[in-house]
């Protein structure tokens, strides 16, 4: 857990103070395998892969977290509205959830980023708009249960307004749950954003991103420059794994049933 946090602070810090001189084209250093001078090797323009990987990871992290946050907001709003109102509104939102869940994620991602004309904004919105249903479902069920809890009914009988009940009784329950939901969503968001970039949608070729690095590496793979594909991908896996551990630990900590263990 603390190792994961350390990893992320290290990554963010490294991306800030990074010497971007390694990004300059240097044709004398093309296709260098990993060495002490260039830990991750260099690419077809002689750029340092370590610099490119760290910047790519950092951008991917920002993108994924932002998309997961947007997704969390969508699920919080739709889920609680559906749970609180019930009836027609609930039916409509549940239908929407079913529809989004019935389309394969990646197809939906491609469709949305096509509609938005690609770009970083397209990727973020595409990921945000396709990842909310599961969390929304959980929140909807939670709100439905809370709405009929004895203390909420009692509070309503005591004359508290709806807004007061939402603020004092419902939100304290929902916000931690939503936060954990977002933390568990973020790794998926990072992976899907990388996949979308890999396929050629979204982020421009000059912006650093792991998906782009791996797509580039495909052109050089048959000539045996293995480090271009293997190392950036492994770093991405490590980052996603660390994020996932963070999310699972947070869930275990905030759940009173497992906290004692």
């Amino acid at each position: 857990m603390s190792g994961c946090i350390l990893l992320f602070t290290g990554l963010v810090f490294a991306a800030q103070i990074m010497d971007t001189g390694g990004l300059a084209t240097n044709l004398g250093l093309r296709h260098m395998p990993p060495s002490l001078g260039h830990l991750f090797g260099t690419d077809w323009l002689g750029r340092d892969m370590l610099t490119r990987t760290i910047l790519g990871l950092y951008e991917g992290l920002k993108l994924g977290v932002l998309a997961a946050l947007c997704s969390g907001c969508i699920s919080l709003i739709l889920g609680s509205v559906a749970g609180f109102h019930g009836g027609r509104v609930d039916q409509f939102i549940s239908g929407l959830i079913n529809v989004v869940m019935a389309t394969p994620h990646l197809v939906l991602l491609i469709l949305i980023s096509f509609v938005l004309g690609g770009g970083t904004r397209g990727v973020i919105l595409a990921v945000a708009l396709s990842h909310w249903p599961q969390l929304a479902r959980i929140i909807r069920a939670e709100v439905k249960q809370l709405k009929n809890a004895t203390y909420v009914l009692l509070s309503a009988r005591l004359g508290h307004s709806k807004l007061w009940i939402i603020r004092r009784h419902l939100l304290p329950h929902l916000v931690p749950q939503c936060m954990i939901g977002v933390m568990l969503l973020a790794p998926h968001a990072i992976l899907h954003a990388a996949g979308l970039t890999f396929l050629g949608f979204g982020v421009s070729p000059h912006a650093p991103s792991i998906g782009m690095l791996l797509a580039e590496s495909m052109r050089h793979i048959s000539t045996g420059y293995w480090w271009l594909a293997v190392i950036p991908g492994a770093s991405l896996v490590l980052m996603v794994l660390a994020f996932d551990t963070l999310g699972s630990t947070a869930r275990a900590l905030l759940n009173p049933k497992t906290r004692q263990e």
Partner: protein
């Protein structure tokens, strides 16, 4: 049963309308996307002519109505980049993808189930820990990176497998013999199954542990059942049901994975067509694939329901009551 089919039809219809509305709000001009850089070489009149021949001069609601009535008759329009009816493109490409997906689906199902049963039989053992670490790591691994790794090791390093495509160079895909096709299929299918194993293994493991703590497990043990005897005679049936459901419900993930795997291995399937349609602005094909893939996922879920009903006698009893 009828209810199920009705729901599926409703979902597909909603997806069709929603995606049409989305696409019609796209800032990308279809004529621009179609012409690419050649747009500079045509006159405005010519451009208008293309737009008119595609019916773009009509208002969006009317276009939607025309499109929907064509859809209802089974006419998905014409793909711009392949210059063929959308349905033909999808049918041809899906035939190639189906090989890939079926191979991966079966492999990941069998291996994942086996690993899950093993891990669940000896929870806490090094074997169990190994399987769990594998499954957790795989859940954080992008499909396309696994594909790249396999390419680096088996195609470039060892030279065991071809580096791309569905048939040897110069041989059209439908003329390649079975051995050649399997040879080209091996790496993409392996990529998809390596990823697919994770979820089903973890799920089966949990069910297995649950069953081992049940009362009938205790009873079977008291009757003198051995470890493997218990698995064969009692546990397998109980664990198989949720595993089958899960495997059918994962068709969406499988479809998404095949898009990535096909891109890595340049395998000419439906996934590659999806990417091309998206990148080159082939709206009819993209819409067709969105609808088709939704139908694919829905049919998978329906199959799971039907199978459940056949395999699990309890489902029929509750329905009869």
């Amino acid at each position: 049963m009828c209810l199920c089919l009705g729901r599926i039809a409703a979902i597909i219809a909603t997806v069709a309308v929603l995606s049409f509305v989305l696409v019609s709000y796209s800032p990308i001009d279809p004529v621009d996307a179609y012409m690419g850089t050649r747009i500079l070489t045509i006159s405005p009149e010519h451009r208008e002519q293309i737009a008119r021949s595609w019916g773009l001069d009509q208002p969006a609601p009317q276009r939607l109505a025309t499109w929907a009535s064509n859809l209802a008759r089974g006419d998905f329009g014409r793909s711009i980049i392949f210059n063929e009816p959308v349905m033909d493109v999808i049918a041809k490409r899906f035939a190639a993808s189906l090989w890939l997906m079926a191979a991966a689906w079966t492999m990941s199902g069998v291996i994942g189930f086996g690993l899950g049963v093993l891990a669940g039989m000896y929870p806490g053992s090094p074997l169990d820990r190994g399987i769990r670490v594998y499954a957790l790591t795989l859940a954080s691994t992008p499909t396309f990176w696994i594909g790249l790794l396999l390419l680096v090791v088996f195609a470039v390093g060892l030279g065991w497998a071809p580096i791309c495509c569905a048939a040897p160079p110069g041989v059209p895909m439908d003329e390649a013999n079975l051995l050649q096709r399997l040879h080209h299929l091996a790496l993409p299918a392996l990529t998809l199954s390596i990823i697919g194993v994770a979820q089903i293994a973890m799920h089966t493991r949990e069910k297995m542990i649950e069953i081992r703590h049940s009362e009938y497990a205790l009873f079977a043990r008291a009757m003198g059942e051995s470890d493997w005897g218990f698995v064969r005679h009692h546990a397998l049936r109980g664990v198989a049901l949720p595993a089958i459901t899960l495997q059918f419900a994962s068709l969406g993930e499988l479809f998404g994975g095949s898009i990535l795997a096909e891109q890595v291995f340049s395998y000419p399937g439906l996934g590659q067509a999806t990417v091309e349609a998206g990148l080159r602005g082939d709206v009819p094909l993209l819409l067709g694939i969105v609808i088709f893939s939704t139908a694919f996922v829905c049919v998978g879920n329906l199959a799971a329901d039907v199978l459940y009903w056949i395999v699990d006698p309890r489902m029929r009893i509750t329905e009869a009551l």
